[in-house]
Structures are given as structure tokens and as C-alpha cells.
């Protein structure tokens, strides 16, 4: 195989990695917000249930959670594991008959939502009470204070830890191969066993590095944009 052929072959796998990355971010980041609010709730039962949930999700390996979402529907609900759900959009990822990507996406989204929720909670709790009170004495509503005064300060504070998580996420997508989902490392493994080519396995690192480089630049810009004030 030529270098170009290998590159294109691996790219097919990396597209899947990127899909998991994008879906996790788009679902996990918003989902983290209600989880964060629940874990700060004044209603004790809700608060503690949320905290236990976050503890479990953060406390067991993501790989295990993928297995849980992969096998649980069959074991608990007696729904057969379907490898033949036709998700039309997956055609673009060379995996048109891979209904099993759904458990991976669910596991990733929930797992990352919990990590994000802790970052949000830390950020929100780090804003001084004085900021809220300054807003309240001006007659603003709680919502106005949160949206117009607190939120941007929280965002500024959570950008660095969020950047870390986001960079970890793209590398975590490799875990999808535990249920034989053909992400980039699985594809490279295929070349190793079928074509006796080992170097593509190492070459996959370049894909990650380029992507992480891009992320670093983008996230650095966001951080820079919020540099104009101190909070």
C-alpha cells in the first residue's frame, strides 16, 4: 500500500473518532449544565442523587460504561444488539450497519457531561457572593444576575479546565474499539494483521497531534479573548 492509500484508509477511521468527539461535545457540554445545577440544588435529595450519579460515572472506567450501554439493552430489556440499524448519516463514515455506535455515543456523552458538570460547578461556586449581591441591590432578578454578571466570569474561569477535557476527549475516542468500532487505531490494527504493516499504527499519532494542535490554537484564542478582564 502506498502512503497515500494508508493515509486515506486511516482517515476513514479518524472520521469516526471525530464523529464521537463532536457528538460528545455537542451533547455532553449542554447536558453538564443541568447536572451542575442539580448537584448544587438546595433540595437535598436531588443534590445527593446527582452527586452519587456523578461519582459513579466518574468513578468507573469509560470502557466499562461503553460495555454497559452496549450489553445492557440486551440483558435488561431483552432487545437484541443490533448491528444492522441503518443510520443514514453513518454511511459517510463507512459504517452504515453499525447501530452499535449509539451505545458508544451515549456512554461518551453521559461520561463527559459529568466531568463537565463538575467543572461548571467549580466555576459557578468560585464566583464571589459579592457579585451576586451587587446585582441584587441594583434590583436585578436572579436570572438577570446569572446571565449578565456571573456567566461570563464563569466562562472565563472554566476555559482552561474545559480545554483539558476536550483534548482528553479526542484521545479517549480510541476506547470505541473495545466493541470493535472501527476508529482510527482499530483501522491501523487491521493493516498490521492483514498487510503486515506496523508503521501505520504509529502514524495514527500524527492524526491526533494535528487535531490537538488545532484545538490548542482555537481554545487559546478563546482564552485570549477573555483576557481583557480579571475575574
Amino acid at each position: 500500500m502506498t502512503f497515500l492509500q494508508v493515509t486515506l484508509f486511516l482517515w476513514e477511521g479518524f472520521k469516526l473518532s471525530l464523529l464521537i468527539f463532536a457528538v460528545t461535545l455537542l451533547c455532553g457540554a449542554p447536558l453538564g449544565l443541568p447536572i451542575a445545577f442539580c448537584s448544587m440544588s438546595k433540595f437535598k435529595p436531588l443534590k445527593y442523587i446527582t452527586k452519587v450519579f456523578v461519582w459513579i460515572v466518574r468513578g468507573i472506567p469509560l470502557m466499562l460504561q461503553i460495555f454497559i450501554f452496549y450489553y445492557a439493552p440486551g440483558l435488561v430489556l431483552n432487545i437484541p444488539i443490533s448491528r444492522n440499524i441503518n443510520l443514514f448519516f453513518l454511511k459517510n463514515f463507512g459504517i452504515e450497519n453499525m447501530g452499535m455506535i449509539v451505545p458508544v455515543l451515549v456512554a461518551f456523552a453521559i461520561n463527559y457531561a459529568c466531568y463537565f458538570s463538575e467543572i461548571y460547578r467549580g466555576g459557578i461556586e468560585s464566583i464571589s457572593q459579592g457579585q451576586y449581591e451587587a446585582g441584587y441591590v441594583l434590583g436585578l432578578t436572579k436570572f438577570q444576575v446569572f446571565k449578565n454578571i456571573v456567566l461570563k466570569q464563569v466562562i472565563k474561569r472554566i476555559v482552561p479546565p474545559m480545554s483539558n477535557e476536550i483534548i482528553t476527549l479526542i484521545k479517549d475516542t480510541a476506547l470505541a474499539n473495545c466493541i470493535m468500532l472501527p476508529e482510527i487505531i482499530m483501522k491501523a490494527g487491521e493493516l498490521a494483521s492483514r498487510e503486515m504493516l506496523v508503521w501505520p499504527l504509529f502514524y495514527t499519532g500524527v492524526f491526533y497531534l494535528v487535531f490537538v494542535g488545532l484545538l490548542t490554537i482555537i481554545l487559546g484564542r478563546v482564552e485570549k479573548k477573555l483576557d481583557y478582564f480579571k475575574a
Binding site: S128, G130, Q131, E133, A134, G135, Y136, V137, L138, G139, L140, T141, K142, Q144, N148, I149, K152, Q153, K156, Y228, F229, K230, A231
Partner: protein, 252 residues
């Protein structure tokens, strides 16, 4: 017209009785300074007036309008509380400016959100206030670019933007370097001349003497003594007042 009447305010935090029956009257255009040692309940009193705390008992009214009546057993809802807060302004010891907004935006934020006029009117008024506190050149600066004294002057302009009936200050110069207290005290003095009704908690005795119509000396959650600056500073009746004033003189 804005005459403030406070009657028999009590406030506990758990088992700690912090305010034990505070009553006084403040007429329009008057300035009252509250002095007293740390822990005597001065901050708590201002927080009650600004509805950051709810008193356990007592009545707060402005002219004939009762804002709070602890005996009426009516719990104020959020809207009523916000309505009440608009009668008062509060300048904090630690400024609490909004760091992500420029000086001008700090002053215009609340009036704009509360739709107190057209944006142009609000901005024009804000610029006037910023000029009044002597910060016209800094209108587009951010709080992190200002000295403590400048930040506190912005905080005053911000509190004035909603034109409260009564402006409260909680030790406005305590967080400032000594050389910066003057500029803040000067602004408060000018407000007095302009006829603002104000309550100032302060440890600046000389300032309190010069600017106030009345002095309240608080000790252990009660008003130990109330009177004109002359009465309090030159002829204090209570032993506690004498003791406090002596101590604060010694500090100098």
C-alpha cells in the same frame, strides 16, 4: 420626599442575636453615620435595609409606605423585594464592580436591564454620574485597570444610576490604601451638599463629624447612643461610647 423610618429591627443568625431592636428616623437630605466596633451589627443593618437579609421583626418604611413589616406575617415575594431594593443603594466595602464590564457599562447595566429609559438617556446620565465622581477619562477602562479609590467611585456612580432614595455605604474606605480614602470621602461629601439622603458606616471619625447630621453609635446589636456629631464626639453620655471613641483616638 423620602423619610426613612426604622422601628424595632431584630435579626438573628441561628442563636446569635445580631440586631436587638434598632429604631431611628432619617429625614430627606440628612446624612447619618454609623460608628461602632467590629461585630456590632452595622453591616447586618445595612443588609437588612437593602433586603439582602430579612429581619426577624420590625418595620421599615419610607414616608407612609411600609416596605417591610415583620409582624404582618406576609412573606414578600421576589418582585416585591426587588421593588423595595430600588429605594436603597448600597456601596460595598469591597466595591464589587463587574469585572467584565467597562466603567460606563458598570453604571448603565442595571438601568438598561430594568428598562429605565432609552439607551441614549441612560448613557448620557451615566456619563454625567461618571463625571460627577471625576472619572470621565476612565469611562472605557475596566475595573482591573483602576485603583481602589477609582473603583469605589465607580461603585458610587453605579449605585446612583438608579437614583435611590437612600444611599448606604458600608465602610467605603476600609479596603483602601490611606492615601486613596480622601478621593472617596470627597465624593460622599459632595453628595451630601447635593442633598442626598445617606447612611454611612465608617471608621473615619473626622469625616463622620464633618459630614453627618446625626451619628449613631452601635454596640452589641443596639443603638447605644444617637445624636448630633457634637453631642456624640464632644459630650458622649454612654460609657461605651466614651470608651470606643477613646480607643479610636488612640489608634491614631
Amino acid at each position: 420626599m423620602a423619610n426613612l423610618h426604622i422601628k424595632d429591627i431584630y435579626k438573628n443568625f441561628g442563636k446569635t442575636e445580631v440586631l436587638k431592636g434598632i429604631s431611628f428616623t432619617l429625614n430627606e437630605g440628612e446624612v447619618v453615620s454609623i460608628i461602632g466596633s467590629s461585630g456590632s451589627g452595622k453591616t447586618t443593618l445595612l443588609r437588612c435595609l437593602n433586603f439582602l437579609e430579612t429581619p426577624d421583626r420590625g418595620v421599615i418604611s419610607i414616608d407612609d409606605k411600609v416596605l417591610f413589616d415583620g409582624d404582618a406575617n406576609i412573606k414578600l415575594d421576589d418582585d416585591e423585594i426587588r421593588e423595595n431594593r430600588l429605594h436603597f443603594g448600597l456601596v460595598f466595602q469591597s466595591f464589587n464592580l463587574f469585572p467584565q464590564y467597562s466603567v460606563l457599562e458598570n453604571v448603565t447595566l442595571a438601568p438598561k436591564l430594568l428598562k429605565k429609559g432609552t439607551n441614549e438617556d441612560i448613557e448620557q446620565k451615566a456619563k454625567q454620574l461618571i463625571e460627577q465622581v471625576g472619572l470621565t477619562e476612565k469611562a472605557d477602562s475596566y475595573p482591573c485597570q483602576l485603583s481602589g479609590g477609582q473603583q469605589q467611585r465607580v461603585a458610587i456612580a453605579r449605585a446612583l444610576a438608579l437614583n435611590p432614595d437612600i444611599l448606604c455605604f458600608d465602610e467605603p474606605t476600609s479596603a483602601l490604601d490611606p492615601e486613596l480614602t480622601g478621593e472617596v470621602l470627597r465624593v460622599i461629601k459632595e453628595l451630601k451638599i447635593a442633598g442626598r439622603t445617606m447612611i454611612v458606616v465608617t471608621h473615619e471619625m473626622e469625616f463622620a463629624k464633618n459630614v453627618s447630621d446625626k451619628i449613631i453609635f452601635m454596640a452589641d446589636g443596639i443603638i447605644e447612643e444617637i445624636g448630633t456629631p457634637q453631642e456624640i464626639f464632644e459630650n458622649p453620655k454612654s460609657e461605651k461610647t466614651k470608651h470606643f471613641l477613646q480607643n479610636s483616638l488612640e489608634r491614631i
